[in-house]
Symmetry: C2
Subunit: 339 residues, 2 copies
């Protein structure tokens, strides 16, 4: 067994791989949310001067990429790979955002787990000696996602309490073999989990079993326990999904109640902003990582985070064909100290 | 610079990473094609007992995965990762095919470059010490692809000469740090190239510039030349795209005419099978690699192949919004001798 492997689904990143820069650009609603001060930029409306929501989403990622690179101080030719994906059919938000970058590109599809997926692969590419600097980035857009996955926005469909609100935003990080942390130290890669949930207005419930599975597997594989983390944070389970995840993890003998949060529940004030169960979309965990989490780690509020991206692997076609919703979750440990 | 890097976009895989097993299952038309004898299985009709084309495509991949694993002699728990993707919206062919596998999963979207993309990342994950065995797999299905990207099949739309025919098939490989070759020795990861082609009935032209860019970059980065390969083979440029690629590579000073082929032109007899410019789809290069190329390398007909997966990164939404078609190409060197 290669020495970097720990247990069934986890690897130890055994050289210091730093997050050297992050950036996030969000929509107006996100800017007004509780984490508003942490974003690099808030756009004034969801079109941002473009002719379609899809083009606006691409622009979000393109400009976020530009900020990540500028803040890193790295030249374009020092960046070896971009790893990116999004929710749009054929990941066109990413494809069009990155077409002028001139950097080797690996396209990913992990639904809302994409931020964690890209950072997992990015850290391994650097730790494996294949790269010095890698950008990991993703995006989502409420309007392009609603249009594609649910109903025309113009219908004004009523939303059940379990529904979540897709974040308008792009967030990403640059990983590097230079830098002073925070470091990505463990990568636990999820397997697909499908317990038969079919309600696409209750994605939290569909993703929670995958999240719980990855969290428990991470502890078993690494030998770490919940108390080794200041914060265990899932991507976008929302209030219903978070409760379910907590319960499923607890059934396996791990108590995470005291230090467990969910990006989907932090990104909006769901009471005031009418977002029901919380935020969702690839952008949800990405802007929270790039904004709030990164900055609070830098300040020392958090020193050890288990960041768990969560994705619902359905399409509107699979839903129409009566299929259940497979979920997946990828976890990375982010620590201020490399040991 | 990490020592594994060679030039701008290439890495040298510096430990012997073998392809230890491959499998391919194809549709009836593919089974009747010139490479028919190389596939593991030919299904009788495009539904394969399922209720939808999408479900049939998932079944193709699920059964292909099963064959790859059986032929490898590896136990399920020896496989550390599956890397997969496909053309369906949100990559549902892969998500549903792999949901019962219980193996860490990285979802990819590289359009028809997915076979090369997955093998690139798979080889790096093993070479980097993160895995012993990795499965890289993809699929496509003429009916699900036509329905999603073009017109309802029932319309019987006329196809221009530049149109290609999406392969019904799934193909994949298992990579391992044990085994006796063929070995993946170089990985050249493409950047997105978009020269403004907008005709989604001429994907070959859209992808050819990316293919040429990656091929030329591979030679520059690695110091190898066209004569170091028995065969340079692109994924699915078809006859129009292949000609264009050859010309673009030649303009950069590399003559590949004598040893250059395209999977899209080999998978069908386009005269007899009325497939116009040739085959396409993620399955096209995947079943050709898993079938013909792998078996002919094993027999020694080929010893050094440059396998170049080619993808057109559009969606029907981006096409409707007047966007051009970004292309990408990923190359891997496959060699019988590890040096």
């Amino acid at each position: 067994m290669p020495t970097k492997r720990k247990g069934k689904q986890t690897v130890k990143i055994d050289s210091p791989i730093s997050i050297i820069s992050t950036a996030s650009i969000v929509g107006p609603k996100e800017g007004q949310g509780p984490l508003g001060i942490y974003y690099d930029m808030v756009i004034e409306d969801e079109m941002w001067g473009e002719k379609s929501w899809e083009k606006a989403e691409s622009k979000l990622m393109k400009e976020t990429l530009s900020k990540i690179i500028n803040k890193s101080g790295k030249a374009l030719d020092e960046i070896n790979y971009i790893l990116a994906g999004d929710l749009l059919n054929q990941c066109t938000a990413s494809n069009f955002a990155l077409r002028e970058a001139g950097i080797s590109f690996f396209g990913l599809y992990g639904a809302c787990s994409t931020m964690a997926e890209s950072a997992s692969l990015g850290a391994m590419l650097i730790n494996g000696g294949f790269a010095d600097n890698v950008v990991c980035i993703t995006s989502s857009h409420f309007c392009s996602a609603e249009k594609q996955f649910r109903f025309p926005l113009e219908l004004g469909s009523q939303r059940p309490p379990t529904a979540q609100w897709t974040v308008i935003g792009s967030g990403g990080v640059m990983l590097s073999n230079q830098g002073i942390g925070p470091y990505i130290t463990y990568v636990t890669t999820g397997k697909i989990v499908d317990l038969g949930v079919k309600d696409s207005n209750n994605m939290g419930a569909a993703m929670a079993p995958a999240a719980a599975d990855t969290i428990v597997t991470h502890f078993k594989d690494s030998g770490l326990s919940p108390s080794d983390y200041d914060l265990i944070i899932t991507g976008d389970l929302g209030s219903f999904g978070k409760e379910l995840c907590e319960e499923l993890v607890s059934k396996q003998g791990y108590d995470i109640k005291s230090n467990y949060a969910d990006c989907g529940m932090m990104v909006y004030d769901s009471q005031k902003q009418d977002t029901h169960s919380g935020g969702s979309g690839c952008g949800c965990s990405a802007v929270t990582l790039a904004g709030y989490l990164y900055q609070e780690m830098k300040k020392g509020k958090y020193n050890n985070i288990l960041f768990v991206g969560t994705g619902a692997l359905l399409s509107s076609t699979s839903a129409q064909q009566g299929e259940s919703i497979p979920g997946i979750a990828h976890a990375i440990s982010i620590q201020n100290k490399f040991e």
